[in-house]
Symmetry: C2
Subunit: 206 residues, 2 copies
């Protein structure tokens, strides 16, 4: 299809498509004339992926670029693809100072006490430690075990998710499932928790 | 304490404190001279709360204002305070068009089939429907039951959380626990899921 049709089908404006092409987020089309190219299903799928990553995942374009690059390396280990998704989802640097370092030692020790083997340099570990610092800043005298029920739930979910990823038919599908699953199901889980909070709140307080 | 000391203690610059005072996010200090006021523990606590809401929760100042207003109404129902926290956490409007409306009907019917009684106008329900649309945009042929394991986990967590809120000693503490808990533990749960994904990924793929 031509770029105008690609725009219509995807809902992405032509100038944005051209920008993605220049930035390498979208692979070039097949040249049909000096100033014309033909695009296909692969371009449409990519545009939809970019839309989900930016609008659902809240990713910056730089983070989208990293994710797209990971999808182009199905030969890389799935473990590395997942790490890319996690890094892309990472918020800006933690606002906390020296308290964070102490909290990180505590949360790591606690995770190990749960039997979780920890990888190096995981951005999510800092985010967990940051949540502990935030609670303490607000005057809650708590340790990492305030998160115990969340860890149990998260572990059961993650185990299912990785089994699903391993069951996908091709390396490409597995990498996409890992990346997309991390992002979209994180939003779904957060939404379900809030819906469930509302229902239990209505029961108790109304 | 003086404003300079409040700034030092909280780590928030004086111009920012003055801005919060003008905007009503921070209650005025006790006037000690025409151009001087004394601040106390309540101001320090409020500044820490604003920091957590903006930097951990990613809230806009407008959303912070709503949350702060809810904290000032401990006589309001806890159910309403929780709704305020949910609305404040809500992302911008969903990027999806008519597909969203259809998905919302489907996800609502599915939640009801789980025995969840649904409130009206919950922003989280749209977010869940948006996650379903996102998966379909990416070519996953799935229905709302793709979220079943997440719903089970979220419901168990929310039930504990509301029991905790109900057990807090005062209406003020309950409202703060509802608001802070929703925001900080959402980040913690997301972080724990990613840490757990990494550990299960390492087990399977390395």
């Amino acid at each position: 299809m031509r770029i105008s049709e690609l725009s219509r089908e995807s809902g992405v404006p032509i100038p944005t498509i051209k920008f993605y092409l220049r930035e390498g987020l979208l692979p070039p089309g097949e040249a049909t004339a000096p100033n014309q190219a033909r695009y296909g299903e692969v371009h449409l799928r990519r545009l939809r992926l970019i839309r989900v990553l930016t609008e659902v995942g809240g990713l910056t374009l730089a983070a989208v670029r990293d994710v797209v690059a990971a999808l182009g390396r199905p030969e890389a280990s799935l473990h590395d693809a997942l790490a890319t998704a996690h890094t892309a989802l990472q918020r800006q640097a933690s606002p906390w100072g020296p308290e964070l370092k102490d909290a990180l030692v505590e949360t790591d020790a606690w995770l190990e006490s749960l039997g979780w083997d920890l990888g190096v340099g995981s951005p999510a570990r800092e985010e967990l430690a940051g949540a502990l610092v935030a609670l303490r800043e607000l005057g809650w005298s708590v340790g990492p075990d305030v998160f115990t029920a969340y860890a149990t739930a998260a572990d059961a979910i993650a185990e299912r998710e990785l089994a699903f990823v391993q069951g996908t038919p091709s390396p490409e599908a597995a990498v996409e499932a890992a990346v997309v699953g991390t992002i979209v199901f994180e939003r779904a889980l957060a939404a379900l928790r809030r819906i469930a909070q509302e229902r239990h709140s209505r029961r108790r307080f109304r």
